[in-house]
């Protein structure tokens, strides 16, 4: 269907995909709050929320409803536009990263091959990094626009932490990029698809990446920007109602997306382990395989989300100087070393 020289079906296809992915991220984030509380409870020998619906499954809905009906306060001395822009930006940047992720192998609908990826740009991973670093603005704007010293301090803490850990994250990533030789997400997955996963070549790189991901998503042990209980609640101190909800929500979306990215970069993306997808496709059809690969990716990502929570309920928070020491004096040199060694090995093998 071509109208005005535009492939309308293509646009519809992408719109549906975008809607599906955004909904998926929202639902996962919603139930991640529930999951967090359950994991916390189980680790502390409790059973967690169990009143709203069976097993407390309606709890996230109740929480969301509560946040919507709370009084919305915009501080008098705040800069209103930026104050509202803050949580918006946090939310949007959290969702934007999902655009370049390959969510599964392609489907066949009618005569069309529909890749389960919104945009297969050739600089996919750079795009992810660009958007993730925009996330700092959400924090910074929120903290600054509140016109509150403590919010501002927390925002500065958050920004400096994110900037320093982004560096180590990028360096650990370069090693992966050297292995695959491409910035395109689909190629990175394709390389691992029928071969070995990147984690085998890059265990140290993965650990660095994982630690940095914890810091980027403001999770314990690096949750100083928030520090609900002692450092005066962080950059969203002045926020109430759903604007606060958006900040908290953005954190969970970030967590899910970083889980997906870790799975994509190091754990073969949507690759089903020990299964030859091409063979399987001949038996049960491509669309079913696409669904299975998608579920595999979800399983991997949710496992990482679980590990994030597990860590949160295990270890206490780092002090700010410890955080900076770890970032600048350990992770960056380690990542550099990892990068150089990978480069040398690649060069040596090529010869």
């Amino acid at each position: 269907m071509y109208l005005l020289a535009i492939d309308w079906i293509f646009i519809i296809e992408k719109l549906v995909l975008i809607a599906a992915i955004v909904t998926l991220s929202m639902v996962v984030a919603m139930y991640a709050t529930y999951g967090e509380r359950k994991v916390a409870a189980f680790i502390q020998d409790r059973i967690g929320p169990n009143r709203a619906g069976p097993f407390g499954l309606l709890q996230p809905l109740a929480d969301g409803g509560k946040l919507f009906f709370k009084e919305e306060i915009i501080p008098l001395a705040s800069s209103k536009f930026l104050f509202i822009l803050g949580p918006l930006l946090a939310m949007v940047t959290a969702l934007l990263t999902s655009a370049v992720i390959p969510w599964g192998s392609s489907m066949n609908i009618g005569s069309r091959v529909v890749p389960l990826q919104v945009a297969d740009v050739n600089i996919g991973i750079l795009y992810v990094f660009g958007v993730v670093s925009l996330g700092v603005y959400g924090i910074m704007l929120g903290g600054w626009a509140s016109n509150n010293k403590f919010s501002l301090l927390a925002a500065i803490r958050g920004a400096s932490q994110m900037v320093s850990y982004e560096l180590a994250m990028g360096l650990s990533l370069i090693a992966v990029l050297m292995l695959t030789g491409s910035l395109q997400m689909s190629v990175i997955v394709g390389e691992q698809y029928n071969a070995v996963w990147n984690i085998v070549y890059q265990p140290i790189g993965f650990i660095i990446f994982f630690i940095c991901a914890l810091a980027e998503t403001n999770r314990t042990p690096f949750d100083l920007p928030e520090a609900e209980n002692e450092l005066n609640f962080g950059y969203h101190q002045e926020y109430s109602s759903m604007k606060l909800g958006f900040y908290l929500f953005a954190e969970y979306i970030n967590m899910f997306i970083s889980g997906v990215i870790m799975a994509t970069l190091y754990f073969g993306g949507y690759d089903i382990p020990f299964v030859n997808e091409a063979n399987l496709a001949q038996h049960i059809g491509e669309n079913w395989v696409a669904l299975l690969t998608f579920l595999t990716l979800m399983a991997k990502a949710l496992f990482f989300v679980f590990v994030f929570m597990w860590i949160r309920w295990t270890i206490p928070r780092f002090r700010f100087d410890q955080l900076m020491h770890l970032g600048w004096k350990r992770l960056i040199p380690l990542a550099l070393l990892n990068m150089v060694i990978t480069a040398l090995v690649i060069l040596w093998l090529k010869k």
Partner: protein, 185 residues
């Protein structure tokens, strides 16, 4: 100078961290193993409205004023419970038993008014111990919540046990815990 209370105390290790420890990873993994173990442990939660926690046999809850088998109030308004009460929660007014009221009150003097302020009461059970007539007991129920302070001042009607003649089931139910206590089961 230190006092040894248990033999489980360990001296604090103040050595500077070595290289492995400064990587944090090993100890973090150890910690995560511990929390994972707890993940699968038996949970201690009691799902309250469905399950209730068993009370101890000597639990002291809301008071009841007892009657004898014929349904007569036992209390003779001697005031010993009020004297014994450390929280001064009990007040009463005595009255003389009139002709024809023998089926209501066992003794010649009875409590016309009897109040316990549950906000003052500390549930020590001294009133129960002081009573010479076996007239007051602490049962095994909580004081229910209330919206107003005056709701916590329990009148005689709130405290009296159901009449064993007119409402034997209610009486048995209210007495159940007491008799068990008395038998020392």
């Amino acid at each position: 100078m230190s006092v040894q209370i248990t033999n489980r105390s360990k001296p604090v290790d103040r050595r500077p961290m070595n290289w492995v420890e400064r990587l944090y990873l090993v100890n973090i993994f150890k910690g995560m193993a511990i929390t994972l173990k707890h993940f699968f442990k038996k949970k201690v939660t009691i799902k309250y409205p469905e399950e209730t926690r068993p009370f101890s046999k000597v639990f002291r809850g809301l008071h009841i004023l007892n009657r004898d088998e014929e349904g007569r109030e036992k209390c003779t308004a001697c005031g010993l419970c009020a004297v014994a009460c450390p929280a001064e929660a009990i007040t009463m007014e005595a009255a003389e038993r009139q002709e024809g009221e023998e089926h209501l009150y066992r003794e010649e003097k009875y409590a016309a008014k009897y109040e316990i302020n549950m906000l003052r009461c500390i549930f020590c059970g001294y009133c129960e111990e002081a009573c010479p007539k076996d007239a007051i007991y602490l049962s095994q129920t909580f004081t229910p919540a209330n919206y107003q302070r005056k709701g916590f001042i329990y009148k005689k009607d709130d405290l009296l046990i159901p009449n064993p003649v007119t409402d034997p089931e209610g009486y048995k139910k209210a007495l159940g815990t007491i008799s068990r206590e008395k038998e020392g089961v």
